[in-house]
């Protein structure tokens, strides 16, 4: 497989996330050719020029793009698969917030109004994307298989379950024992600290970060960085109306939430309620 990784408006965080992948040596041994601008020895100009003239397998883009990026448009026609690595390349993310000419590959936030009308890009959002999402997508593509995607072009394998799945605070969520303050391994962060775990799709809490943890496990709310509305305003707050969160876990009705949380609170086991 011949692959080209290019960077646009980026912090390079996806590159550094990717470098944490423990199977890196094996992965690279399976490439016939791999180019990365901050790791390879060749010059980007020469490599791009070459690839504009020949078909290749995989184009990976990291970073938000400008609407006038002709090179990416042309390269995307030459590549068999195009992958947007990280939320900037997928939705535009932070760089697009202050510049209307900046967008993602297929999308600009939730509109399908990005740089490329086609092909359909494989989107790996996340700020940054998890190394598994990047590496395991590549492995699949190496076999010539395109992963099954959701409506936003994200592989279902990684983005069909909520970040909430596998969080160590699930039991607290269940019994509605909310964290009243930061800095504890106890309590759920949904009610007071804006946790987006039940509103975002990602496998962070199933596969963990750096092999050891995740934001919510470390007591930080999930900020929903795999979704198009990241970074929302008020990232550490839960907007509420009359004591009910303005946004409820995906698919949960207001009535259901009120009834269940009433009962859960009433019967919550003491061991969960006692701090410490």
């Amino acid at each position: 497989m011949k692959a080209l990784w290019l960077q646009r408006l980026t912090c390079c965080g996806n590159t550094h996330s990717f470098l944490n992948y423990e199977g890196l040596e094996y992965l690279f041994s399976r490439f016939e050719y791999f180019y990365h601008p901050s790791l390879s020895l060749e010059s980007e100009e020469e490599v791009v020029e070459r690839f504009l003239k020949e078909d290749f397998d995989l184009l990976l883009v990291e970073g938000a793009v400008r609407r006038d990026d002709v090179v990416l448009k042309e390269l995307s026609k030459r590549a068999r698969f195009v992958v947007a690595v990280g939320s900037c390349a997928v939705y535009g993310n932070i760089p697009a917030l202050s510049d209307p000419e900046v967008c993602g590959l297929n999308y600009r936030f939730k509109e399908r109004d990005g740089l490329l009308e086609d092909p359909e890009v494989i989107n790996l959002p996340g700020c940054p994307a998890h190394p598994y999402w990047i590496a395991h997508t590549i492995f699949l593509l190496m076999q010539g298989k395109k992963p099954e995607l959701d409506q936003l072009g994200r592989p279902k394998d990684f983005y069909s379950s909520l970040t909430h799945w596998g969080c160590t605070r699930n039991e607290y969520f269940e019994w509605k024992v909310d964290a009243e303050e930061l800095g504890s391994e106890r309590g759920c962060l949904f009610y007071h600290f804006g946790c987006r775990g039940p509103l975002s799709y990602s496998s962070c809490n199933r596969i963990l970060w750096n092999g050891v943890s995740s934001k919510t496990r470390a007591g930080t709310p999930c900020f929903g960085c795999t979704e198009y509305d990241f970074p929302r305003r008020g990232l550490w707050e839960t907007r509420q109306y009359a004591g009910i969160p303005a946004e409820l876990p995906i698919g949960v009705s207001k009535r259901g939430y009120i009834m269940l949380s009433g009962i859960a609170k009433m019967f919550a086991p003491e061991r969960l309620k006692n701090e410490g």
């Binding site: 912090c11 901050s38 305003r233 008020g234």
Partner: protein, 435 residues
């Protein structure tokens, strides 16, 4: 006169170097960065806590330093301090971020550049193929795993909050931390300097450079061959804001001066070729980074080296690589102290309070040098946010009186290769420079 413009490879982001040649020497050099992402603008009018999530996204390799700078600036604005436990943990995570950065910089950016012509060696360090290239990356991944034990993930964590940290470490986390520290220490001794611990200690007491083996020894051999022991000097003005393991201060004209005052920082108008403002301290350009830190903290070995060779390419690189060892020792000390205070609360504040009106700034040490964040809050919202990065000091452009630091270090060199290497010794980070 010949002018050549080069797009630089193997940098964080995108950067350009323009060289003006005359009689076989570089007569002028311009370093520039084409893009900006407008992060400071995005912060305006947001709740101040949002800055803890957005500022780390300035940089994928030193984002943690941005987080710490941000939380310190907020704490100063609120007039609060973190608990001892939290500040020890923060120092440890910040230290590991510096370690991974030093390792990646040396193995991915410096060594491959050097070894391009040396067939046998090139293979070992070749990107995506070389055994040592992978070995270094694995060490860096271990270092950031140590961060994630406390911060949940790396890159881009937001676990530091005003008053402390969001996690509550357990003794078992510290055990894993110790195991990782030991592994990196082992790598440093065996692979980076090729010495036994005792030998290294004796060497640091005043040994000659030729005693160094390992990859640093190899580097010195090549640096010598390329004539870079004394070349690549800038203004010999060095500065650090302190706040990790060294005091705040600056060095110029053979004297040390205490404490950096933010009021003496000047951001001037960019020249036409640059989007970045030249940064001056009391009207002069300064270099920041490991060399400044090691000099200010009184490291005898680096002081001697600097006395002999000045702020040259070789000295800059050696100071940075040897800093790995000093930081490892500090991590070990910090871990010991941390065991003693694990029972303390993780934060001194229960909840982020409403802030009516406040101003705060903080200096923090990132791998590449001093980073400053400055924040003004009004009715809980960010009114103004300013970031000054290490790369802005080192790679920023010229003003009317002085060339930028890196530009100055390149002028007078004899080859493009030398110019590239010298530029790399500052560690190009365009993403930080331009934000």
């Amino acid at each position: 006169m010949k002018v050549k413009s080069i797009n630089l490879e193997r940098v964080e982001g995108t950067a350009r170097l323009e060289l003006v040649w005359k009689d076989g020497f570089i007569e002028d050099a311009r370093v520039s960065f084409p893009y900006t992402r407008g992060i400071e603008r995005v912060l305006k009018d947001r709740p101040y806590m949002d800055a803890l999530v957005i500022t780390p996204r300035v940089c994928g390799i030193c984002g943690h330093a941005h987080l710490i700078a941000c939380v310190r600036a907020l704490e100063k604005a609120m007039g609060i301090e973190p608990t001892l436990k939290a500040s020890l943990v923060r120092n440890i995570t910040q230290s590991f971020e510096i370690l991974q950065n030093h390792i990646k910089w040396f193995y991915l950016f410096i060594l491959p550049e050097f070894l391009q012509d040396s067939n046998g060696l090139r293979k070992l360090y070749e990107p995506f193929k070389g055994r040592r290239w992978f070995l270094a990356i694995r060490q860096a991944a271990q270092a950031v795993k140590a961060i994630a034990l406390f911060s949940g993930q790396w890159p881009h964590s937001s676990y530091a909050v005003p008053g402390g940290i969001t996690s509550n470490p357990k003794p078992s986390d510290l055990a894993q931390l110790e195991a990782i520290t030991h592994q990196i220490r082992d790598f440093f001794l065996k692979q980076v300097v090729g010495l036994e611990e005792e030998e290294l200690r004796r060497f640091l007491e005043g040994g000659s450079l030729s005693l160094l083996k390992g990859d640093l020894g190899l580097f010195l051999e090549f640096a010598h061959k390329e004539g870079l022991f004394r070349a690549g000097r800038a203004y010999n003005r060095l500065l650090s804001g302190g706040e990790l393991y060294n005091p705040s201060g600056f060095y110029c004209k053979k004297t040390y001066h205490g404490r950096i005052k933010p009021s003496a920082l000047q951001e001037l108008t960019p020249p036409s070729y640059s989007t970045v403002s030249p940064l001056r301290y009391r009207s002069f350009p300064y270099e920041t980074g490991p060399l400044s830190r090691q000099l200010l903290s009184g490291n005898r070995f680096i002081k001697n080296l600097h006395r002999e060779y000045g702020d040259s390419f070789m000295v800059r690189v050696v100071a940075r690589v040897l800093e790995i060892w000093h930081i490892l020792s500090r991590i070990e000390e910090g871990t010991k102290r941390l065991y003693e205070c694990l029972h303390e609360p993780s934060t001194s504040l229960k909840k982020p309070p409403h802030v009516k009106r406040a101003y705060g700034y903080a200096f923090v040490e990132a791998a590449r040098g001093t980073l400053m964040h400055e924040v003004e809050i009004e009715e809980g919202l960010i009114k103004r946010y300013r970031i000054i990065t290490p790369s802005q000091w080192n790679l920023g452009p010229r003003c009317e009186r002085f060339l930028g630091v890196a530009e100055r270090a390149i002028v007078g060199l004899e080859s493009e290769r030398q110019a590239m290497l010298v530029l790399r010794s500052f560690d190009l980070c365009s993403v930080c420079t331009t934000r």
